[in-house]
Symmetry: C2
Subunit: 211 residues, 2 copies
C-alpha cells in the first residue's frame, strides 16, 4: 500500500467535502497557451445560466486569467503560486472560503500551464481535462505521457489552425489512445465555435453524473 | 553568499570544461511544441558546413527529437529524464562522453518543453534561448516570468500563423522587455523561412564570441 503523500491526504479530504456537498470538480491542464481560459471564456456564459459555477485560476504570477473569467460574471479566485509549477490540493482547500459551497454545482480549476508536474498532483477533482492545441504537434501525448495517461478528456483545440500545420488529428488520437484507451476526445475551436456545444454538453453531463 | 546548490557546482565545473576547450553552449527552452526542434532541423544543415556542432536532446520519453536531428547529420544524444520536468547539469556532464569534445565548436542543448522548471537549472550554457510561438499568447512573459527574465535571446516563432491569432508582437516584446531589457529578440517562421538567416547569424556570432 502506497503511503499517501501529504497532497493525496488533503486531496482525499476535499474530494469528500465536494462529494458531501454534491459539487462536481474539473481540473483543466495543458501546455501554456493551449486555450484553457479561452474555452472557459467562450462557454461559461451559456453554462452559468443553468449551473452555479465558480472558477479557481492557478498561475505563477498575474491576475490576467481571473480578470478574463470575471468578465463572464462567474465567481473566480486567482491563486498565484509565486514560482511553483503546479497547483496542490492544499492551495485549493485554502481558497475554498472565497466561495459559498452551498450555492455551487461545479468548481472548475484551471491549473498552471505545464504538461509535466500538474499530472502528479491530485486536487480532489472528479475529472481531469487535458487540452492540446493543433499548433503544438501530434507527438505530445508520447513525449509527455503522464498528463495524457491521467486525463479523462482530451480536448484538441485551435482546430481552425489545422490547415496551417502538419498536425494529424488521427495521429494525436492514436498516440493518446495508446496511453489511455478510455479518454473521451473532443475537438474545438475558440475562434470559429467548432465543438463548443459538445464541450458544454460534456460539462452538463459530468455535473449530472456527480450529483 | 548563496551556498551553491549541487546543480550550480556541477554547472560551474562543466562551464569551465567548455571554456577550456573553446566550446560554445546554447540551452534552448520553451513550452512544449514552440518549435525548438524545428528551428534546429531548418538551420543545422547550413550551420554545420562551417561549424562543428553536436546536440543534446532532453525529453521525458521518446527518441523522437533525436531522430529528427540525426537526419541533419549532426551528432546527437537523447536524454530521457523518465519523469523529471527539466534537464540538470549532471545529466549534461554524464552525456558528454558521447561526443569528441576536441572536435566541437558548438553544443546545443534542447531542454524539456516546460516554461517553468528549466529556468532554475544552470546547465553550464553560455546563453539561454527562449522560444515563444505566436499561438501561445502574448501574455506569457508576464505569466511565466523567470524563464524570460533569464533568457539571453527570445525567438518569436511561427510568425506565419500571426494573421490567424490575436497575438501582438509589440505586446510580447513590451512584456519581455519589462523583465529583461537586454534580451535580443528574433522573429522566425520554420514554415516560410522568415528570420532563419538572422537566427543562423546570431549562432555564428555567439560561437565567435565564445572562442
Ligand atoms: N486561432 C485560435 N487561437 C486560440 C484558440 N483558443 C485560444 N487561442 C489563442 O491562444 C492564446 C492562448 O490562449 P489562452 O486561453 O490564454 O490559453 P491558456 O491555456 O489559458 O494559457 P495559460 O493559462 O497561460 O496556460 C490566445 O492568444 C488565444 O486567443 C483557438 O481555438 N483558435
Ligand atoms: N506553422 C508553423 N508550424 C511550426 C513552426 N515551427 C514549428 N512548427 C510546428 O509546431 C509543432 C511543434 O514543433 P517542434 O519543433 O516539435 O516543437 P518543440 O519545441 O521542439 O517541441 P518539444 O520538444 O516537444 O517541446 C510541429 O507540428 C511543427 O511542425 C512554424 O514556424 N510555423
Ligand atoms: Mg489561462
Ligand atoms: Mg523538440
Amino acid at each position: 500500500r502506497k503511503i499517501l503523500s501529504r497532497n493525496d491526504r488533503v486531496a482525499a479530504e476535499i474530494r469528500e467535502l465536494f462529494r458531501s456537498r454534491g459539487i462536481a470538480v474539473l481540473n483543466m491542464v495543458s501546455s501554456p497557451g493551449s486555450g484553457k481560459t479561452s474555452l472557459l471564456e467562450k462557454t461559461l456564459g451559456g453554462l452559468s445560466a443553468e449551473l452555479r459555477i465558480a472558477v479557481i485560476e492557478g498561475d505563477i504570477q498575474t491576475e490576467n486569467d481571473a480578470r478574463r473569467i470575471a468578465v463572464t460574471g462567474v465567481p473566480v479566485h486567482q491563486i498565484n503560486t509565486g514560482g511553483a509549477c503546479h497547483l496542490e490540493a492544499e492551495m485549493i482547500r485554502d481558497s475554498l472560503d472565497h466561495f459559498d459551497l452551498d450555492d455551487l454545482d461545479l468548481l472548475i480549476i484551471e491549473n498552471v500551464g505545464n504538461l509535466v508536474c500538474p499530472s502528479a498532483f491530485d486536487l480532489g477533482e472528479g475529472a481531469r481535462i487535458a487540452l492540446i492545441s493543433v499548433t503544438e504537434g501530434d507527438d505530445k501525448p508520447l513525449k509527455y505521457p503522464a498528463m495524457f495517461h491521467t486525463a479523462n478528456v482530451m480536448v484538441i483545440n485551435k482546430m481552425d489552425l489545422l490547415p496551417y500545420t502538419d498536425f494529424s488529428v488521427d495521429e494525436v488520437i492514436r498516440n493518446a489512445r495508446s496511453l489511455n484507451p478510455d479518454a473521451r476526445i473532443l475537438k474545438t475551436s475558440c475562434r470559429t465555435g467548432e465543438g463548443l456545444a459538445a464541450w458544454s454538453d460534456y460539462v452538463r453531463e459530468f455535473v449530472a453524473e456527480m450529483r
